[in-house]
Symmetry: C2
C-alpha cells in the first residue's frame, strides 16, 4: 500500500478522479484541502460543487461553485448536492464539534433528528463513521480525498534534506507504539516522544494544541536539554474512517514542531494528507526538521 502511494507520488496521476461518473461534491471544513482538491478535480475536467460549512471553511472556496451552510442546515446541504447532481462526495477539512445548544436545525435536519442526536455522544471515529453511513444510506458515494487524489498523500521515505538520526529512529518507533495504542481506543492520531520519553499525546485538543504544549514544556525545562530532540508521529487510528478523518500535516504543523524544538516529523506513508506538500517540505528544510514517511500497515499491531 505505501509502495503504491509512493509510486503515485513519484508520478502524480489521478485515475480515480477521472473515473468519477459525475460532478464531485466537496463538503468543506477547515484548511486548504477543500480548495486544493477542488483545483485538482477541475484540472482533471471534473466539475465540483463545494458545500462550505460557515465558520469552518475558508472563504477561498468561493472561487468555485459553492453553497454556504450553517451547522444544522442539513436540508440545505442535500438541496445543494441534488441541484448540482453530485452523487460522489468528499468530506474534507477539520471541523470543531458544534455545541448542540447553539445549533439551529432546518426542516431537513429535524427529519434526521435521531441521527443528529446519535452524534452528541462518543469518540470522533464513532461519530465520523456514522456521518459516512448517513450519506451512503441516502445513496451518495463517500470517497477519501486520498483515494480520488493520491498525490495529496505523504509518500514513503525521507521527504527532506535531513534524515532521522538513530536516536530519532528509536523515538519514532516508540511514538508509533503509543499512537497505535491510543488509536485502538479512539483517543487521537499523534504523539510526541523525545529521547525515549512520551512528552505529549493528542486527544480533543488536536495536533496544533499538543505541539504548543510541547513548546511550553520545553520553555519551563520539563524536557531536559535545549538541542532539538524528539519526534512528532502522526498516523490514522487503526480501523478508523479514513475517508473523513485522515490525519493531515502542513506548514503550520512544521512551524509548531520547530517551535517545540523537535527533530522531525514521521507519518504513516499513504495515510496522512499533505495538502501543501511543497510548502510543507520547504518549511521543514528551512527549520532543519526531517519529514519521514514510515511504511504503514493499517492491519499490523
Amino acid at each position: 500500500m505505501p509502495q503504491r502511494r509512493a509510486a503515485d507520488d513519484a508520478a502524480p496521476t489521478v485515475p480515480e478522479l477521472t473515473k468519477l461518473s459525475g460532478p464531485l461534491g466537496i463538503i468543506a471544513g477547515q484548511g486548504p484541502l477543500p480548495r486544493v482538491l477542488a483545483e485538482l478535480a477541475i484540472a482533471h475536467g471534473v466539475p465540483v460543487h463545494v458545500v462550505a460549512i460557515r465558520g469552518e471553511a475558508h472563504e477561498e472556496v468561493e472561487g468555485f461553485s459553492h453553497t454556504w451552510i450553517k451547522w444544522g442546515e442539513i436540508g440545505k446541504l442535500f438541496a445543494a448536492l441534488e441541484s448540482h447532481a453530485c452523487k460522489d462526495l468528499v468530506i474534507i477539512g477539520g471541523v470543531n464539534r458544534p455545541d448542540f445548544g447553539n445549533v439551529r436545525l432546518d426542516i431537513g435536519a429535524i427529519k434526521t433528528l435521531p441521527f443528529l442526536l446519535s452524534l452528541a455522544k462518543g469518540g470522533d471515529d464513532h461519530v465520523l463513521s456514522r456521518v459516512v453511513r448517513f450519506f451512503e444510506e441516502k445513496g451518495y458515494h463517500v470517497h477519501g480525498a486520498g483515494d480520488v487524489a493520491p498525490e495529496l498523500l505523504a509518500q514513503e521515505g525521507k521527504l527532506t534534506t535531513k534524515a532521522p538520526s538513530a536516536e530519532d529512529a528509536s523515538d519514532i518507533e516508540a511514538a508509533f507504539k503509543v499512537v497505535r495504542a491510543l488509536g485502538r481506543l479512539d483517543v487521537g492520531q499523534c504523539a510526541v516522544v523525545a529521547r525515549g520519553r512520551v512528552l505529549a499525546v493528542e486527544a480533543a485538543e488536536g495536533t496544533d494544541g499538543m505541539l504548543e504544549r510541547c513548546a511550553e514544556l520545553r520553555k519551563v525545562g520539563r524536557t531536559w536539554g535545549t538541542r532539538p530532540a524528539g519526534v512528532l508521529v502522526k498516523a490514522p487510528k487503526p480501523g478508523q474512517e479514513e475517508r473523513v478523518d485522515m490525519p493531515t500535516i502542513g506548514p503550520k504543523t512544521v512551524r509548531l514542531a520547530a517551535a517545540a524544538g523537535l527533530s522531525g516529523i514521521a507519518m504513516a506513508a499513504g495515510h496522512v494528507l499533505m495538502a501543501e506538500r511543497d510548502a510543507t517540505i520547504k518549511a521543514a528544510n528551512e527549520s532543519k526538521l526531517f519529514l519521514f514517511g514510515e511504511r504503514w500497515d493499517p492491519a499490523a499491531d
Copy 2:
C-alpha cells in the same frame, strides 16, 4: 488489596511506621505530602530527617530536622542521611526534571556520574526505578509513603455526598481502559473522558496541566454542552515503581476538575495518595463533584 486499604482507612493505624528500626529519612519534593508524612511519623514516635530539594520542596519542611540540597548535591544528600542514621527512606513529592546543563555536581555526584547520566534518558518510570535501585544498592530501604502510612491512600467506594451517575460510570470504565493502555507504555497516570469521548490524556504536562487544558477545551466549545460531564480517572501505571511515583490528588486537583466542568474523579483505591484527605473531600462536596475509589487490581489488564 483495595479491601485491605479500605480497612486501613476505616481504622487508621500505622503499624509499618512503628515497625521502622530507626529514624525515617524523607527525601522531599513538591506538595504537602512530605510534611504530612513527617507529622505522622513523629506522632507515632518515629524521628525523621527531611532532605529537601531546593526549588521543589515547600519551606514548611523546615519545621522538622532537615537539610536543603540542590540538584546534583548527591554527596550532601548521603552525608545528611548518614549523620542522622536514616537507613529507611521515603522519596515523596513530585519534582521537575532538572535541565542537566544547569545542574552543578558535587563530589558525591561526580562519583555517581554514570548513574546520573543514565537518568537523562527514558520515561518517568524507567528513571524512578533506577533511583530506587540506586539507593537500595547503597544499603537503604526505600518505602512507599502509602506503605508506611496507609491512611494516606484513597479508600474504596464513594468518598463524597455525590455518587457517579450511570453516564459517569461508563466514562469511568472507558477512562480506566485508556489509563491502563497508556500506563503500559509509561505515558501517564490519568485521562479525562466525557460522554464516551476521550478529552485529554496526561503525559509530561502533569495532571494539573491536563485539567487546565480541559477547561480551555470547554471554553472554546470543543466538548459539547455546558452541564457538568466527564470524569478524571487517576491510577498508577501497571508495574510502575509505586514507592516513588504513586499518583496523588488534592484540593487543587478537585478545583481544576470543577473548573473543567467535570462530574467527578475516580481513583485506583489503595494506589492513589490523598495527602489532604479532609480538605480534598470538602472541596469536592462544595463543587458538587464525586470522588470514587475504584477497586484496583494492579495485575489485571
